[in-house]
Symmetry: C2
Subunit: 187 residues, 2 copies
């Protein structure tokens, strides 16, 4: 009842989860947050969703305690995952693995998750296939897999940065280090 779209009367914990992250775009926003996307404009550029919807989702996620809005080094705020948001990683990983398994190209997954300390890929259950240990989110490296299409003329810098190896939870772009005068100077 209190939530925007409720599944009232469900005794099931899944229904509670879906009230928070079951709306359109929400889980993609969370996924981008795992990959280090942090600013309004970065989310908007990568997801190409209506800005009003993005405003709504970021507000909802912040109020739910999944994201936290905090001041950046620059003038704008950033949205970063809280521990509660980071706890969504197993769900995001499982759904990503399912999509790769059933909707990937024949050549393999689009992205491979690796254990940053030994570079071995992760198993489906989130353990490292090298050392066998469960891997914490901050130690996961995302690398392009064989199924990842070559970068199109998809101009936005976020999509391009996501196609390069990067560590989860680390800022993907750092706008404070590339001020306006240096950005966009390459035609």
């Amino acid at each position: 009842m209190p939530l925007p779209r409720d599944y009232s009367g469900q005794t099931c914990a899944l229904a509670r989860s879906m009230e928070i992250i079951g709306e359109r775009w929400t889980l993609l926003i969370v996924r981008d947050a795992f990959c280090g996307v942090r600013r309004f404009g970065e989310f908007a550029a990568h997801l190409r969703l209506p800005r009003a919807v993005l405003t709504d989702r970021l507000t909802t996620l912040t109020e739910a305690g999944v994201l936290e809005r905090k001041p950046d080094t620059g003038r704008r705020d950033v949205y970063v995952l809280t521990p509660k948001g980071i706890a969504l990683w197993p769900a995001v990983r499982a759904l990503t693995a399912w999509g790769d398994a059933f909707y990937g190209v024949g050549s393999g997954p689009r992205r491979v998750f690796r254990h940053a300390t030994d570079d071995a890929p992760l198993a489906d259950d989130g353990r490292c296939t090298g050392c066998g240990a469960p891997v914490v989110v901050g130690d996961i490296l995302v690398t392009p897999g064989p199924g990842l299409a070559a970068a199109a003329e998809d101009d936005d810098p976020v999509t391009r940065a996501l196609a390069r190896p990067h560590r989860l939870l680390q800022p993907l772009l750092d706008p404070s280090r590339t001020p306006r005068s240096e950005r966009g100077s390459h035609p």
Copy 2:
């Protein structure tokens, strides 16, 4: 583009998954299917969603290969999970665990998943805390947890059956065994 609600242009496998199971109600339908809910009326009674939406979701899931519609012993058809649908279990489990962790009552989870062969509860990663082995879906027993509210005057038999211990993927109700003349005879 071809799918009902597309996240076009996403290179991310999660977006593919969300096109299939990201719509409202869809994942709850899949969850019920794991618990052995199989018939139109059972889904409708438990989820209390508009019947037109249920029709649409069952059709979509069937076309996507997540469910299969097959004749029952009786006159009506049943919808059962395919291997592709069963592959969604890690995602359903992860989201259920998240909901229990952050939206449960203080006393604990609503439901406990156990390994049917040794009755030990499952860890968050899906392994059995008793024998340590990964547990296949058909060997999971769902038992009421401390956080499960007592059955309300929630009349529908599906909700009541879900509150009792049951094994995943086994039919929850068997309407062919309780013909009309014996059903509903208790005021």
